[in-house]
Symmetry: D2
Subunit: 348 residues, 4 copies
């Protein structure tokens, strides 16, 4: 059994890690930390986990977390992970960081997040978008630190990557507009004005409409001219990404055929079991991915135009967070990538 | 592997059976029938099931369903199951009927449902409320036909049974008022005025407020003076049951202590793993049971009164339907009762 | 024009007063107070009110509020109103208090709310359930202080009063079980765990199931054996009250006819324009009262039983709060009771 | 009083016309037609309208509707209005058509809607986006037929028009991507799979992602390179439009200042009372326009980019439908444009 430690087990990311790891046949949760709930039974604080977990929340030295775990998940707020990673690395731990702290180079991080990066070293973190980074599963590569992608970038990059990467030979993407719609669980477990039911129900709220920091991850991975605007919808889970992709007129004389694009996607995601390409756009919505690690993708080419609209749907807490972290863990330990994650969505 | 056949695989009950059985380690789905979708891939019609099931919907003779299955689930509308059961019984099938057709004696059925019972024989169906009918799991009893309980009765009976059954020696229940609140999935997969989003959102709708037919099941099992009123809430899944239980003044001099009642429940549900007794009422809501086979129960005694309010929470499609059917199947086949059903709820 | 002052203009009650009074043809809002937002434009803090109100929030002496107003609405938290009322009374103001502070006798208040009542005087407040207290509109009675009813009591009392009051001559109510379901706006504008979207969506939450303080108002007005249990539903507005009313067997030999009960209600509410008696229970839900001052009421007699189920639907912020306060103001000033409140609900 | 007739009074558009016209001080509803409900009391079929309207639904000859009305609203499905308009025009009626039938030239209509236009004449309908078509209110112009805009085009055109129209002198819009999110009431009062609560709750559904017909109206009015993709969100009312507007680099050297754009909008909408320009994007969401005729608009310029994101929020049934129709009626009859429409939104 893989002993898995979780630093920060009270937020939605940490709780989802617990929920999913409890169903993982090859993992034992070794420790879950929380300062606030130290000494309390995890299943008392979170009654849905009763009687699946016997552990109490602990508040111990990082070194001890490392010693008791084969892998450590960091499910702490942005800006906090960088306080733990140096010591975890020193202890020889394998770490999957679900925060934003290691997704960008230090200098980029400081520019985008407008704060100092407290880790003085430039760590060689791999960007944990498993489908695009096969090196994570490469037995010859020893992955010490995975920077688990942000929820919005996961949906956006998976939607657009095949077109962008196919670029040189087949199509040329000129511009991408990412318009994303997220459930409110992405904003965390703490009550706030934006999660206040009367403010969100019967509503949809745009925010950080030109300056959301996740755009940096998208641009880094995709290397394309890209804009991003997020919204919060009155749902608990899920991110639907609408990617408006504009091709260069010259790249294909505006005559790109549906079958060719389909082939680009099929080839690009060949063997990637958590990507489900959907022919019928009517099957594309948050429902079918609810509670799962799938990313459902479909597209439509606008007639007489150079626009392709690509839609992707994920559960922000699973594929957009804790599920993807476990997928990365599976890859690192040489397990089947679906281990513990292979089940259908909660429909209806 | 147990070969399980499902008659009627397009409604919410049938789909939930498929979803759950796909995760059951000891079951193989042998056949799923549908007249409307005959010949279509199940995962085309229900994209959330892709790629978990390879089967097409079929429309074959009942005899063939029986031949290809060790157990047959009937997930057809009320009034239809009685058309299949006689032939299934003749074929020697074990049958779990999720409809209302065999929950009452024939005569009672005809009185309550105001229609003729087409099965001319009085079948010896066991009422599949697993916790109250240990005979289902008794290896010496050969159960051929299980009448799976209705969703409302499941929540209501489990909430109140310990008090009623404890009756003779400890307390005497004088009267019970069951006020239930259900998610709309209980009304089925077919669009209707009551499931029309603008009619249900920001609303709660009482219906059949004195004459819902499920009351017959409750009275039959509980043998107590009982009233029932259901409501639909703007949620997909779940039934919250508020049972207002009035004790006879003489039974305990109005001085029943919290600990005594707690003990009655603890004892009654000792060893019943899907019943979670909740001390803190704040942990009692639909969230913690979402997608699960649990029934969470808690209570509070009104000070200076003979009223005990018992709350139960279930997922209407799981413990109130398909999950309970599988729990019954597990019992019949001598499996652990949690097999395929033992996982925490989808929170948040 | 009636000059109306509002003390506490940032909570849902205060904001709803503003919204409704802005549409009232005979009222001018003279002042709105807020400590937190003192000096800020009301329509900056609450953009839905732009450009309807020019005022800034103010924080002035109570005396000044009184001087600038013909009537003062207290829309402050429970326990605060009693700090303002003595001085307002001294200033000769007419006051409508939307808090709980003057709904019960001082001694009862202290027993139920478990705190000292800071107003040393026993004020002669009238309970502002306009339909049951015609003295409010009596030109010969000078009403100085109205205790506006709680939201739950409004729905509960209006549902049951005709049966209880009809008691001596026609029926005898033995017992009433009030099971109420409220939108979350009743919990106020401040974010909290209970109003956190992921906690409330797809859920229904029972709370204070045997000990909610509003029961005291219900018992005081109805003088009947009555139990009360509230729940929060995933809706913004509205309270649906399910009143299970048990009649004394002797009172009518269990043979009360539908028409007789209907007549009792019709007579009781004759001329009360905000009570809509609904024959078809299918028209009884929160939708039709959304945003309005109506209380819709319907009932059904259980066959072969002594139970009558009465359903009432109100908008908790209007008839259950600010609308009723304005209805009281209309009565006091001799206006038509519908002035400023006479419009249909927001459907869908 | 203006006598207003409504052809098609059972859909959401017709019902919203009734709701709003009932509060209009200068209008009397003269007749409401419905084939299905002919002879039934309107307030029986729609209980929220009781007791505000005494009329029954009627099914009479078009000529009679014309004779009994000063203005006729057509609230019938697309494709039906063209059956009524010729006769209404002949009868000398003034007509406001809420369907799509007269929004485009006949030839364009047939190309976009893929069906024959049954009205053989090319009518001179004015496009009823009141803010952009001051000729509607021009007393010297006699408007016989108003083509009331589609719900999506209303939100989209109002968001983008100032930038596009300012074009020649100040900025040059190169490309516009309209990504819209609508409440489900836009899909009508008839239950369907897309309005089925379990399909829409906890979800967001893209549809007709490159080929929605409303794009034709947008292009016609704006004359700009424009793409459109709509989605349905789990809300009853409202459309939030996210317009990603890309300026020509040369037009302003990428250095357009916030103040300049703001000035363009302020000037363009000077005196247009139903347009509320929002400085704080946090005040921009569906809440503040719920139930109102407002269109709230705000924008943000992306730093170091040629993208401006403009957000608009409307209530699809009011400003996006029936409210705008009444605004047009007010203009035609020389009334204040806010008559009957000037009230704040239902918040919370």
């Amino acid at each position: 059994m893989i002993e898995a430690g979780i630093i920060g087990g009270t937020g939605y990311t940490g709780l989802e890690l617990i929920r999913l790891l409890l169903m993982h046949p090859r993992v034992n949760i070794s420790i879950v930390t929380s300062r606030r709930y130290k000494g309390k039974k995890i299943s008392d604080v979170n009654p849905h986990l009763f009687p699946f977990i016997e552990l109490d929340y602990e508040d111990v030295a990082i070194k001890e977390v490392a010693d008791r775990s084969d892998i450590v998940f960091l499910a702490v707020p942005h800006g906090s992970a960088m306080e733990y990673v140096p010591e975890l690395m020193e202890s020889g731990s394998r770490v999957i960081d679900l925060s934003a702290d290691y997704r960008l180079k230090r200098a980029d991080y400081e520019r985008v997040y407008l704060r100092e990066h407290k880790d003085k070293e430039e760590r060689d973190a791999v960007y944990g978008l498993t489908e695009l980074h096969p090196e994570i599963a490469d037995p010859d590569t020893d992955i010490a630190l995975v920077a688990n992608p942000g929820c919005y970038p996961t949906g956006a990059i998976l939607a657009v990557a095949p077109l962008v990467r196919a670029g040189i030979v087949k199509v040329k993407v000129k511009q991408v507009v990412i318009d994303s719609k997220s459930g409110i669980s992405g904003a965390g477990a703490e009550p706030s004005a934006s999660s206040h039911f009367p403010n969100l129900a019967e509503n949809i709220v745009p925010y950080q409409i030109t300056a959301h920091r996740h755009v940096a991850e998208m641009r880094k991975e995709l290397q394309v001219n890209l804009s991003f605007t997020p919204h919060v919808i009155p749902s608990i889970r899920g991110i639907l990404t609408t990617a408006h992709v504009f091709l260069d007129a010259d790249s294909h004389g505006f005559k790109m055929m549906h079958e060719e694009i389909e082939e680009i996607y099929r080839e690009f995601y060949s063997g990637k079991r958590f990507i489900r390409l959907r022919k019928l756009l009517s099957s594309l919505s948050l429902s079918a991915v609810r509670g799962t690690n799938f990313c459902d993708i479909g597209f439509e080419i606008e007639k007489g135009s150079n626009r392709i609209v690509v839609i992707s749907a994920i559960d922000n807490l699973v594929k957009g967070g804790s599920g993807q972290a476990i997928q990365n863990m599976n890859a690192i330990f040489g397990l089947d990538e679906g281990e513990g994650l292979w089940f259908p969505g909660l429909v209806p």
